[in-house]
């Protein structure tokens, strides 16, 4: 038996390279970056100094402090745009390779089915982080360019300096990334079911919408703690002094449960699947 020379981390690197050499990936990152830019420009152009009290959370704060652009953009991106892009990447993981036919060559290399699933999930997880950071960082830059920037008053009434606030924004990006892990695992599972990537992408994104709709129905309150979208907008805890970790931990536990369940399902399906494409 030939020696296995590496842990196989080169496949992770290869996966990241392939993901970020696709025009599609950059188009999605570009679209995500447009969200804070659009918000900031519209607020700047239409600003008459008065707060209307309508629109997405934190929108009215932007004129006073450009640092709020990131927060507003994240709030806008979480329900729709982020799940959509994660749906594309996670839904494409296995189905995309099957569709190209490259799956058979990865498997006879041999990549190993479990290893390939893990690598694919790692790639999708990295994309979640990059997507979230894109919104936060672009928001910070455009906010600083178009609006005054200064110490921020938190939800708890305390004021933090710019560095402290950035630290919290990065924590927030982490929170959102973790929030998307469960959806990525669902996407990975759906992707093992089909050789048509668009179908897997649409199904994943649609599930995110369905979960949010169910989460909005008070009649289904018993179900809400089990929905992977339940804590998606619960990052307010990171905007208090002192930092409260409760929702982060609850969310992490819930997302971990989804990863465990759908990761197992994906492996159960993929490990015995006939690759005929």
């Amino acid at each position: 038996m030939p020696a296995e020379r590496s842990l196989g981390l080169t496949l992770v690197l290869s996966e990241i390279t392939v993901l970020f050499r696709r025009l599609r990936t950059w188009a999605m990152i570009g679209a995500l970056a447009l969200i804070p830019i659009l918000i900031a420009v519209v607020v700047r152009v239409a600003s008459d100094g008065s707060a209307s009290g309508r629109g997405p959370a934190f929108l009215d704060s932007i004129t006073q402090n450009g640092l709020f652009v990131s927060l507003t953009a994240l709030t806008v991106a979480i329900p729709l745009f982020l799940p959509l892009t994660i749906g594309v990447v996670a839904g494409d993981t296995i189905a995309g390779e099957a569709n190209l036919g490259t799956l058979r060559y990865l498997l006879v290399a041999p990549a190993g089915r479990l290893r390939l699933l893990l690598v694919k999930y790692a790639g999708a997880a990295l994309f979640c982080l990059v997507a979230t950071l894109t919104v936060v960082v672009t928001g910070a830059i455009i906010g600083a360019l178009l609006f005054p920037v200064g110490p921020v008053t938190l939800l708890s009434g305390d004021t933090v300096g710019i560095t402290g606030y950035f630290g919290r924004l990065l924590l927030l990006a982490l929170y959102v990334t973790v929030s998307l892990m469960g959806l990525s695992a669902i996407g990975l599972f759906i992707s093992t079911l089909t050789t048509i990537p668009v179908g897997a992408m649409a199904a994943t994104a649609a599930l995110a919408a369905v979960a949010q709709i169910l989460g909005a129905l008070p009649q289904l309150e018993w179900l809400h703690p089990w929905l992977f979208t339940n804590y998606w907008l619960g990052f307010g805890d990171f905007l208090r002094q002192p930092l409260v970790w409760n929702s982060f931990l609850d969310n992490a536990l819930l997302q971990f449960g989804y990863i465990a369940v759908f990761g197992t399902l994906a492996y159960g399906r993929f490990s015995t699947k006939d690759v005929l494409s």
Partner: protein, 315 residues
Amino acid sequence: MSGAGLAIETHGLTKVFGRQKAVNGVDLAVPRGTVFGFLGPNGSGKTTTIRVLLGLAAASSGEIRLLDGAMPKEARSVLPRVGALVEGPAIYPFLSGRANLQRFDAADRHTSPTTRNQRVDAALERVGLSHAAKKRAHAYSLGMKQRLGIANALLAPRDLLILDEPTNGLDPQGTREVRSLIRSLSDDGTTIFVSSHLLAEVEQMCTMVAVMSAGRLVAQGSLEELRAAGTVRVRVTTPDVADARRVLSGLGLHPEPHGRDDVVAAELAVPGLLPEAVNAALVRADVRVRGFEASGASLEDRFVALTGEGFDVAG
């Protein structure tokens, strides 16, 4: 049968899709060091067999040994020694040819990352793609993609190459190159299992063949054995055509009408009847034999006899 000396060995290999047996009780025995032709019409189960051999699809029943390892159980130690082209090449269209190969090579944990670029370039060189290595693969022609697929099979030294229709989409020069490539790989000691529906190609490259038809293995052996299993034809050139016909009929043969009026031909369809006995009978009957020829069936005749006439794809 002992597994020693066999690169591929299957027993009762069967693959069922729904109610259809795509592969039905196949017993393959591919000796090491041979160039083995895997023949069969479209839809006869060649590619499905190859998929099952490589562990891409699970066998419904039967056993597989590849390079003395059980498949798919020992895939992790077997597959790094196997290079494969399965059902045509597959590429990432947005990557260059070189990046495509680097990707597939990275999937194999046994290859060394430090020699990766060197091995990728050597494989590209070997199939004549060096000049197009940096080009995005979506701009490749069908033949170039096919070459890239073959290069992928050659990324590391292999003990066994499984090549499914390797000359598909290649121009005549490309076909010749692939043939000489296969010969040189075989000279290095690599066992090569080539599936094809092109008989001429198999005849030129292979020393042994197996023939699939409708999911079953209908013949297996050396090319000579396969040809010999077919009926021999005798062809007599003589001015005494009528007498010659009478003699052949008397021996139980069925002389066929022939375009020339000084030739009588017949299939030697009587068991135990040798061509020399036919000639002796003709001479005894005072037939003036000017020419006598006994020829084996062509591989094509054999192939058609085994897999059936007609243009229909086996359902």
